[in-house]
Structure formats: structure tokens, C-alpha cells
């Protein structure tokens, strides 16, 4: 580092220490304005105060000031919190970059190369910290998205018991390989656990059946068959039927029904349960002895 750059850096360090009140107040103003309405002032004040102190302390370290672990830790915490609370990237970054403006207003630019060098150095430092903040921010967002995708996977695949020996999987949303895997595993396990011989896969909630979805369904049915259970696919709406035929997908000898009710009736019939409408329109059920 050249002499004037060193002097410039020293000048900024001194400025941050001596003009602390003025710079800090301005920084708080800028940061507060960018995220108005989201954050309470006292909270922001505390966060920025800690950051400011850590920054000033980091100048005393032997290493590069931007790499102080205390400073980075505080920044990571701030951006993680903001990502979770739904702040935008701009609102998060402005908190860090606002310091640049606050310092610039206090440098009292006298046009000397020393002042310029000093501010350049400081500007680079703040840029580094800003980039670090954004990296943490987006890493946090990605983690949230991943977590949600996993939760969705868990949520959206219940296997329900319809009757003794009859289970159903109501599928909702997009069927990709990962979800089909989960559905298939759950269904096969439930068939074993409940000793069921009939399974209904209901696709009323699947918006489009393309060749991949069809292939996944076919595989699930074949797997269930290997375990001795018969599958019925229900919830085939007119537009889906149309599309499947045009695409050229063949479901072979797999039983398909328009509604879940039809599929349940079919499965009940197959398992020897007869439904009789009594007088007084009460529904009575009895098992046919074979």
C-alpha cells in the first residue's frame, strides 16, 4: 500500500472514531428510510450500533478489517433475519451500503488525493461487506425454499383408508419423479401395514397428465400389483381423457374411473361388499359370503 493510501485509510479510521455520532445518525436515517414500515427503530438502532462498533474495532485487528469474524457474524445474522422476515434484497443491501453515503457526507471532501484514496479504500471495504451480506441473504432464501419444497413433499402425499382393505392416495399438484417416489413408497408401505388388497389413486388434483406423469402412474400400479394389490386410477376428467388419448398413452388393463366414488364402488364390489339401498333410503352394507 502506498503512503498516501495508508494516510487515506488512517483518515477514514479517525473520521469514524471522532465523528461517530454524526455518521451513525445519518446511517440510521438512510437505513431506516429504505426499510420503512418493516422494522422498529429501536431494533435497527441496536443492530447498527453493534455493527458500527465491530467495524471500528476491526480496524485495530492485524488482518484485513473486512474479514473480522465478529463483523461478518453480525452481518450474517442481520441478513439471515431479514431474509426470513421477507425484506427485499434492496432493503437488506441498503443497510450496509448506506454507511458509505453517511461517511462520504462527513469526509468534507477537500479534493486532496488523500481524501479520495481514503474514501476509495472505505468504499471497497463496504462493497465487500455488502456482497457478503447478499450472499448470506440469498443462501438463507434458498434454504427456506428447499425446506418448503421438502415440507410440501411430505404434506401432499397422504394415504387414506377408505374401507377395510381399500386405501386411497389423492394426488394434488405436479407429479415429478421425486414426488412419485414418495407416493409410491408410502402407498406400498401402507398396503403392507393395513393388509389392503385394493388401492385407489385419485388424480383429480393433477392439472395435466403428460407422458412422464403417466409413466410414473403406470409404474406405481405395476409395483402395487407385484405386491398382490389391485390399483384403480380415478379422477380422470374429460379434458384429461381427451389429452391421454391424443397423446397415445395406453393404460392397458388398468381400471380407470371418472370419480373417486366410482372407484370406491368398484373396489367394494371387487372385495365382495354389496351396497343395498333400504326403505327409508338408509344405506345398508353387507359382505357377500363366497
Amino acid at each position: 500500500m502506498s503512503v498516501s493510501a495508508d494516510a487515506g485509510r488512517h483518515r477514514i479510521e479517525t473520521l469514524l472514531a471522532t465523528n461517530e455520532d454524526q455518521i451513525f445518525r445519518r446511517w440510521l436515517e438512510i437505513a431506516g428510510a429504505s426499510s420503512s414500515g418493516h422494522v422498529d427503530r429501536g431494533n435497527l438502532n441496536g443492530q447498527l450500533r453493534e455493527l458500527y462498533n465491530a467495524l471500528v474495532r476491526s480496524f485495530g485487528d492485524s488482518g484485513r478489517p473486512g474479514e473480522s469474524s465478529e463483523l461478518r457474524g453480525l452481518l450474517a445474522e442481520l441478513s439471515r433475519n431479514r431474509a426470513r422476515q421477507g425484506f427485499t434484497p434492496t432493503e437488506t443491501a441498503t443497510v450496509v451500503f448506506g454507511l458509505k453515503e453517511a461517511v462520504y457526507e462527513s469526509t468534507g471532501d477537500d479534493g486532496s488525493s488523500e481524501a479520495l484514496q481514503g474514501f476509495l479504500w472505505f468504499s471497497r471495504l463496504v462493497d465487500d461487506l455488502g456482497l457478503f451480506t447478499m450472499e448470506t441473504y440469498s443462501a438463507t432464501r434458498e434454504k427456506i425454499i428447499l425446506d418448503q419444497a421438502e415440507q410440501l413433499l411430505e404434506l401432499s402425499t397422504p394415504v387414506v383408508k377408505l374401507w377395510e382393505g381399500i386405501v386411497a392416495v389423492p394426488l394434488v399438484g405436479t407429479l415429478d419423479s421425486a414426488r412419485t417416489q414418495v407416493v409410491m413408497e408410502k402407498l406400498l408401505q401402507t398396503l403392507v401395514d393395513t393388509g389392503s388388497e385394493h388401492a385407489v389413486i385419485d388424480i383429480t388434483g393433477v392439472p395435466a397428465v403428460d407422458t412422464q406423469v403417466a409413466q410414473h402412474l403406470l409404474k406405481t400400479v405395476v409395483a402395487a400389483r407385484l405386491m398382490g394389490a389391485e390399483c384403480v386410477i380415478s379422477g380422470i376428467r374429460p379434458q384429461i381423457a381427451h389429452t391421454i388419448v391424443t397423446l397415445g398413452i395406453e393404460f392397458g388393463d388398468i381400471v380407470t374411473k371418472a370419480t373417486l366414488a366410482d372407484a370406491l364402488a368398484h373396489a367394494l364390489r371387487e372385495s365382495g361388499v354389496e351396497i343395498v339401498r333400504n326403505r327409508g333410503s338408509r344405506v345398508a352394507l353387507r359382505t357377500v359370503e363366497e
Binding site: 405436479t174 415429478d176 392439472p207 395435466a208 397428465v209 403428460d210 407422458t211 412422464q212 403417466a214 409413466q215 374429460p238 379434458q239 384429461i240 381427451h242 389429452t243 391424443t246 397423446l247 397415445g248 398413452i249
Partner: protein, 133 residues
């Protein structure tokens, strides 16, 4: 949607987004429910083809006019290895990727117009159109 929309195809989540976007566009053009489902399904097939065989690409979604008729045109392009034998690729049941082999041929039946341009080493361009009835 009067201006054409370009969307990237880089992962499975993009296919979901494309399906949703195409469905919205199909509703705006005034396609019937059956035709909406057909277009969405064809878009799903062609986008997945671009992803599986070329590692990604993009789609251009555009509303087209022919006199008073309105239609929806989708152009899927990629810079992948290309298709050496177009006739074979359009044969029902032919696949090199472990699928059912109905994506390309099925999409041709699902749409009103279908154009496939491809050569080895030059990527693939599939343009499909569905007209409102």
C-alpha cells in the same frame, strides 16, 4: 399477453412455471378447456425434451392471428446435440431416454401445427401452434 414471452428451461421447476404460463396464455386466447389441457400437456412434453436431451433451452410463448382467429404459438429451442433421424424421432414408442416415447409424436397430435427443425450438432427448434375454435 400481447408481447411474446421468453422463458428459460433449466430445471424441473421451470417446466412447472412454463405449464402455468402457457395455461394463462391459453385462457387469454380463448381456447376451450380441452384445448387448454392439450396445449399445456404438449408444452410440458416439449420443455422436458429440451431439458432431458439438450440439458436446457428456452421457450417463446406468443399469441398469433390468422384473420379473426387467434392462436397460441410456442417455440422451443435448444443448443443440444440435435436429432439425427427426424422420422424415427416422430415414431410412436421410439425413445432414447427411457420414457414412453410419445412426447414428440404425441405433441404433434395434440397441436394444430407442428414444425420440427433439427440437425446433428445444430440444436433443435420445435414450433407448435393451437388455434382457437
Amino acid at each position: 399477453m400481447t408481447t411474446p414471452a421468453e422463458m428459460p428451461i433449466h430445471g424441473n421447476s421451470d417446466i412447472v412455471l412454463i405449464r402455468q404460463r402457457v395455461r394463462t396464455a391459453a385462457v387469454e386466447v380463448g381456447l376451450s378447456l380441452v384445448d387448454q389441457t392439450k396445449v399445456v400437456t404438449a408444452a410440458s412434453e416439449l420443455a422436458r425434451n429440451a431439458l432431458v436431451y439438450a440439458g436446457g433451452g428456452q421457450v417463446r410463448i406468443e399469441v398469433v392471428h390468422n384473420g379473426v382467429r387467434r392462436g397460441l404459438r410456442l417455440a422451443f429451442s435448444d443448443d443440444g446435440p440435435g436429432i439425427p433421424d427426424l422420422d424415427q424421432a416422430l415414431t410412436d414408442g421410439w425413445t432414447t431416454g427411457g420414457g414412453l416415447g410419445l412426447g414428440l409424436s404425441g405433441s404433434r397430435r395434440l397441436m394444430d401445427e407442428f414444425e420440427l427443425k433439427s440437425a446433428p450438432g445444430e440444436g433443435t427448434l420445435v414450433t407448435v401452434t393451437k388455434w382457437a375454435r
